[in-house]
Amino acid sequence: MSAIRTEQLSKRYGDTLALDSLDLDVSEGEVYGYLGPNGAGKTTTIRLLLGLHRPTAGRGELFGIDCWRDPVTAHRRVAYVAGEPFLWPAMTGAETLEFLARLHGGTDTAYRDTLVERFQLDTDKKVRALSKGNRQKVQLIAALATRADLLLLDEPTSGLDPLMEMAFRQSVTEGKERGQSVFLSSHILSEVEAVCDRVGILRAGKLVDEGTLAELRHLGAQVVEVTFAGAAPKLPPLEGVRVAPAGASALRFEVSGSIAPLIAALASEPVATLTSREPSLEEVFLHHYDHGDGRARA
């Protein structure tokens, strides 16, 4: 069974189409990265999945349970972390964790203690007195400690320092090993690259690309950097190759398709070093936003 499944899920706010016919299928045990710039519709998707907002068209299911019609049943198997930590200012961290645990039911308190340790949270402090990052930790610990079948995470690491970011990745990996599914909405590409099996890229309410990291990279351009003994030569224009200067005696090539024509062209030149690498997720991502409107790639 799928952890998340949506069919033509759409949401319109007034004149704005925030989400346009989204079809998602995240299987159980999968870690799915949901990428998109601000305002692309990531949070809208999660609000629809949680039944907080009502779909204008289409439907969504969590473990086969309709998100809008039966949210309470669905939420028993889900834990959610919002991008902004909205908690009760007068409660301490410990009280908040206890409250959220009682409302969710079935929290693993031993694991919660481990997490409090790992994220170095002072649970005696009132939420009012915590910084944004620390409030975010309270939310994260509460969600992770439920060991829910599905973690819905909406930019969960905003406000966390790099050490805590590592603690977060460790916790997600642990969850994955236990068979939990994770839906990670983010615009931190390194985070997605580190933990996700599959990635979807959202742009202006539409899913413009989806696949494993390897698939996405394959579709992107390969990057070849070459330095020369002496000044960089002028090469004839080549099919599928974009060239840019990278210093006085170096060139940088972005190659879509076969690399053979470029190698042939370079054979007669005084090449000093040549490095080739796959595009980073960042380059794949920027590709969708820089190069026209997403249709350009298709």
């Binding site: 609000r47 949680l50 039944g51 907080l52 907002h53 009502r54 949210p71 309470v72 049943t73 939420h75 028993r76 889900v78 959610y80 919002a82 902004e84 909205f86 908690l87 009760w88 007068a90 301490t92 410990a94 009280e95 206890e98 409250f99 959220l100 009682r102 409302l103 969710h104 039911g105 002072d122 649970t123 005696d124 402090k125 009132k126 009012r128 007195a129 939310q139 819905l152």
Partner: protein, 545 residues
């Protein structure tokens, strides 16, 4: 070089001035709805009183008998303050308009100052502004100027109201000034409370306590023969000592002027020297965990509303006890037939017996309990605005359960406070030797509930249908319905028109019987509205600010 430097600094100065003006304008816009609401109230009260006085006491004989009886009645003095001259329209209006509106002016000043100063810091917006080129001084005084603009509007409203009511322009201007003189003083109180308190809520509680103390001092000064000098201690008493229409003492204006200057300057000095976002009274940042009342969202609602409920309980309890105590001093000696008839118009029958007086006073408790019930729906809405509701509903928490729980909690709390009010009024009366039946007084407390439940349901309906407008609609309806009944009956509006407000269907228990039929209808409408509200809430998107 020198010219360039000069040009630069004057450009910065101009930018700062724009910044300051921008802050003042935004503060004015923030306060728009509240200021306009108060202005309507001021104009309405200032207009109604002289008109209804002329209408009710057309001859000198009527006025004389009124002056000899009613005005010296402690029960009336409690609400309206001391009367100096009840034989002229001006003197009467100064008493009835000034005595009551000055309390509203104090509340306005307090709310405005806390909103502009502490609430901005609470929300973290003050930091944003002070991070720019606008200095602390400019930001503080820009807020003060904006409130000054609001106070000016209130002055104009009271002035226009009483001129339209037929009072001379000069006297009206002075009366309006006497009323509004309380605004800057309580702006000072609110500004100072905003420096002391770490949160908006605590600031309002501190300031509210100050208003209550000033009011109690005035009550003591006005009702006791030997403690009249206490009037000089409370800003609400200064407004009386200004004596509009009754031998004006404009020099008294120096008192509010000096007091507000002192308070505002001290507030400013503290504001200039403390950390932004903190108060002199530090909130404790850490605490031992207490895990009580965390088992459900409803339990948590009780946990967070507890303090406010206790304050309501104490306030209503204290006032009903005082009403009980004072009811002994009511007597019908020297009351004219005319006045009797006027009071009967209000629907209370005879107010001149202890039970009549208590029955009449409890109408104000009906109003208070309706406001309390509505405040609980406002608190629920607040939970949604602050997006904590999103945190809750992402858990296995049902929407209907959440809203139903909050409404039930509000209903139970309203019932507890109301019944306790009845009990304490009984205790107060009995302590003075007035013979009064306890079951009848419990009934008087319960008599607050039908209208309060109706407004609870209607407020919930507004919440389900138009979440962003919930607070305004809910409070607005209660106030309009109450004034409707009050002025409608005073001005002799047709019965069907007066009957449109739920307040017209409340019996003056214990003087009159509890109206079971009307109560059943009011409660049924309230419950129905609540159920419909839940159906709508189940189907709508969560909606932020």
């Amino acid at each position: 070089m020198a010219t360039a430097a000069l040009g630069h600094s004057s450009a910065t100065g101009r930018a700062q001035l724009y910044g300051t003006v921008a802050i003042a304008r935004r503060a004015l816009r923030d306060a728009r709805a509240r200021t306009i609401g108060f202005a309507y109230l001021f104009a309405a009260v200032a207009y109604i009183q002289p008109v209804s006085y002329r209408h009710t006491y057309p001859t000198v004989a009527d006025r004389l008998s009124f002056a000899h009886s009613f005005a010296n009645n402690k029960a009336v003095v409690l609400f309206y303050g001391k009367a100096y001259d009840l034989l002229s329209v001006g003197g009467y209006s100064a008493w009835r308009v000034g005595g009551i509106l000055v309390i509203f002016a104090a509340v306005f000043g307090l709310l405005a100052a806390v909103r502009a100063l502490r609430a901005e810091e609470d929300a973290g917006r003050a930091e944003l502004i002070l991070g720019g080129i606008v200095g602390r001084g400019s930001a503080f005084f820009a807020s003060m100027m904006a409130i000054g603009g609001g106070a000016l509007l209130l002055w104009v409203a009271a002035f226009i109201g009483s001129v339209l009511g037929g009072l001379p322009a000069g006297g009206s201007a002075y009366l309006a000034l006497a009323i509004v003189s309380a605004v800057p003083v309580f702006v000072g109180v609110g500004a100072l409370a905003s420096q002391l308190a770490p949160t908006r809520r605590v600031a309002l509680e501190l300031g509210g306590a100050a208003v209550a103390v000033c009011f109690v001092l005035r009550v003591i000064a006005d009702t006791s023969s030997s403690l009249g000098w206490l009037r000089w201690v409370t800003p609400l008493g200064w407004a009386e000592e200004l004596r509009p229409f009754t031998g004006a003492q404009p020099l008294v204006l120096l008192l509010p002027a000096a007091a507000s200057a002192l308070l505002i300057v001290s507030a400013w000095r503290i504001a200039a020297s403390r950390d932004v976002g903190s108060g002199l009274l530090r909130a404790r940042d850490s605490a031992e965990p207490r895990f009580g009342l965390l088992s459900s969202p409803t339990a948590e609602a009780l946990r967070s509303e507890r303090t406010s409920m206790i304050v309501w309980l104490a306030g209503v309890g204290a006032f009903s006890f005082v009403v009980g105590v004072i009811s002994k001093s009511i007597s019908s000696v020297g009351i004219s037939k005319q006045l009797e008839r006027e009071l009967q118009k209000l629907g209370s029958g005879s107010v001149l017996t202890p039970t009549g007086y208590i029955g009449f006073s409890f109408i104000f408790f009906v109003l208070a309990m309706s406001l309390f019930a509505v405040s609980q729906v406002a608190a629920a809405r607040h939970e949604e605005v602050d997006e904590r509701l999103e945190t809750l509903l992402a858990l296995p928490v049902a929407r209907t359960g959440w809203l139903g729980g909050r409404l039930a909690l509000a209903g139970v709390a309203t019932a507890v406070i109301s019944l306790l009010g009845g009990l304490l009024a009984w205790a107060g009366a009995v302590s003075q030797g007035v013979s009064l039946s306890l079951p009848k007084m419990i009934e008087a407390g319960a008599n607050c509930l039908p209208v309060a439940f109706l407004f609870l349901g209607v407020a919930a309906l507004a919440y389900g249908l138009v979440p962003r407008a919930t607070v305004g609609i809910a409070y607005g309806l209660v106030v309009v319905a109450f004034l409707w009944q009050l002025f409608g009956s005073l001005l002799g509006a047709p019965k069907w028109l007066v009957d449109a407000t739920p307040f017209a269907h409340v019996g003056f228990v214990p003087a009159q019987p509890f109206r079971v039929g009307a109560a059943a209808v009011l409660i049924a409408i309230g419950v129905l509205a609540g159920l419909v509200a839940m159906a709508f809430f189940r189907r709508r998107d969560l909606t932020g600010a």
